[in-house]
Symmetry: C2
Subunit: 199 residues, 2 copies
Amino acid sequence: MRNPPALEQLVESLRCLPGVGPKSALRMAYHLLQRDRKGASGLALALDNALQVVSHCGSCNTFSEQPLCPLCASTDRDSRLLCVVEMPTDLMMLEQTQAFRGKYFVLMGKLSPLDGVGPREIHLDKLIKRAQNNIVEEVILATNYTVEGEATAHFISELLRSRGLKVSRIARGLPMGGEIEHVDSSTLAQAMMERRLVG
Amino acid sequence: MRNPPALEQLVESLRCLPGVGPKSALRMAYHLLQRDRKGASGLALALDNALQVVSHCGSCNTFSEQPLCPLCASTDRDSRLLCVVEMPTDLMMLEQTQAFRGKYFVLMGKLSPLDGVGPREIHLDKLIKRAQNNIVEEVILATNYTVEGEATAHFISELLRSRGLKVSRIARGLPMGGEIEHVDSSTLAQAMMERRLVG
């Protein structure tokens, strides 16, 4: 006696979600089919829709439904400052501090060779082109102060400084091992203000 | 600066999964859109397909793509014995022990008034009809030995005994508070063999 094939397929498909193993996937599938069919069909729709309309901003690389995200399209921002972050969540946290009026570049990840994430996966070619537009005067590295975030910042600073760009790093006001997403706004604002030149 | 609407919608939709809060949902959405678009579209397809083809067996109430599941359609099984379990996982665990050759009824849950799960949600009307077909001679209650499982077994036994049916309960060979899904096969087989009459 086994589960019907379509159910097994659903369990298998749910495992593409990060942190979901075989037991959770089975529990999720049962829950959806038994208690929340409306939620399940909403999820299928939202997945399809997001896959269709969500792409990346041509300038800052964050998720966007338009070729240029609202922040990149804005004329209010200081185009001479370019802040590099790992994820869109980090960008949103920085925006909440209101301590930065420049523009952003979102890596969509961090260097992590063991997970197969190299310079190409975090779009460093795109970043180099973006930083060398003769308008950007300073690149501020606001990756996390974790091991991978630090390595990523180091790698990028070498890359950009060898091309004659001024590179800074947000101050180590964040606790060691901490992640931007979880820090309070005032600490983050402090770190942004106390950024230091690299090299 | 906020996430694009289609992304927000996806995050919201992912929260219908049990155990997924706002932060996990955001992490899942980023992961799907950034690293596993193929998985995401596979998941959407699997959800749609499962919703379309997976329904319930008309006889035992388990998930099935046919009106009658393979086990209910089988002529090899002893139709005089009806074993009541909470979930399809429990049914499969019992089948693995090979200690039972009768038929099943799957409640698809347990009585849990605080979660809004009453007699109707666990299909007791369907069970009563199923048990009163003049073929079933004994109903074996194989719900978990948890508080809710015990309450469910008690409720069902009262219901069926008042209709003149013989009702038994699998032996308390399972550890207290334990769940059928997690117990080893030999303990479970023992519990099936040592089932005792109620009342």
